[in-house]
Assembly symmetry: C2
Homo-oligomer: 194 residues x 2
């Protein structure tokens, strides 16, 4: 790369600083990817997001392909998925054909988005199921005089779980709404449930 000997010392110091930065970033990216996996997020997506977040610099498809050593297809799909989640943004640069990507910079905002999305995709359906289960048990109770102990237990457990999930949802909501009164209200709800 640098064939010039005269600026060797300055150049090498600069290069080493850049290398060092890159190594630090890679370390973060690696660990973030590992964590993602244990949370049900695939490694590439997590790493991709980590890369865009930690550099804070817009990058195009080829940049990330080279940096993470992944195929074009994988990069394309994963970047799209991250855009769908709403935690990275895609944009054009005037006069360029390539598209660039950048991460949201505000961690709280990212967390809000992810929490809201996971609530919608994963908590809400479970809550729905719990309510259906309760309805089914109620119907049955009307239809028969059977009041078995086991039914009572299941009913109770469904109730507890429902209450827990609803409180949890309120807590998530407080993060999103992000106001003092909202948070205090949540604390009150929480205290009553404990």
């Amino acid at each position: 790369m640098s064939a010039d000997g005269t600026v060797a010392s300055r150049s090498s110091r600069t290069m080493s600083a850049q290398d060092q930065l890159r190594r630090v970033q890679d370390e973060f990216i690696r660990k973030w990817g590992e964590m993602g996996q244990t949370w049900g997020i695939n490694r590439t997506m997590a790493e991709l997001h980590a890369l865009l977040y930690i550099t804070g610099t817009p990058q195009c498809t080829d940049d990330v392909m080279e940096r993470l050593n992944i195929s074009r297809g994988n990069a394309s799909m994963s970047l799209r998925a991250l855009c769908d989640w709403g935690i990275i943004r895609r944009f054009h640069r005037r006069g360029e054909r390539r598209e660039y990507f950048e991460s949201l910079g505000d961690v709280w905002e990212m967390f809000s988005i992810i929490a809201a999305e996971r609530k919608r995709r994963e908590m809400d359906p479970v809550l729905e199921t719990i309510k259906q289960c309760q309805a089914m048990l109620d119907e049955q109770a009307i239809g028969s005089a059977a009041r078995s102990e086991t039914v009572a237990i299941t009913r109770k457990r469904l109730e507890s779980m429902q209450e827990f999930m609803e409180v949890t949802n309120k807590i998530f909501h407080a993060f999103v709404s992000n106001t003092k009164s909202g948070l205090n209200k949540v604390v009150k709800v929480l205290l009553k449930s404990l």
Copy 2:
């Protein structure tokens, strides 16, 4: 099963109530298993836990094998893992050789245990990595006059992420500590960070 015609009506009503209960439980178990998967918990473990939770009744290995249609090996390993997590309990019954398992009944307690464990296993190592990354960047800054923009950005992002994770940890801790003053303290911290 019931070969007796005379008690057919009462018997069939009883059976149907039991069947209905079982169907409701199965529905909950199924959904819980699905949710677990998207959170990086394997389906069998989630279902196993759901079964023990929702029935609220101690069950032995053969019970769960039959109910969930899983092999003995799988049941054994998964039950052990759940015990390791601390959200189910294994115990003997006097005069019986089989071991029985039951779930914790308190959802809040289960959540506390899970949150604490995941924090320890997944958040803490990431926080550790972030601190190491920061240290590496600091060293470098001393060694060279290079104060590139990119380094500054990365440093800033590491800081934001660290702060976010530390606040999140405090919130988890408030759930565990479970006191009014603890929760209020958390709200204050939270408000300052927002």
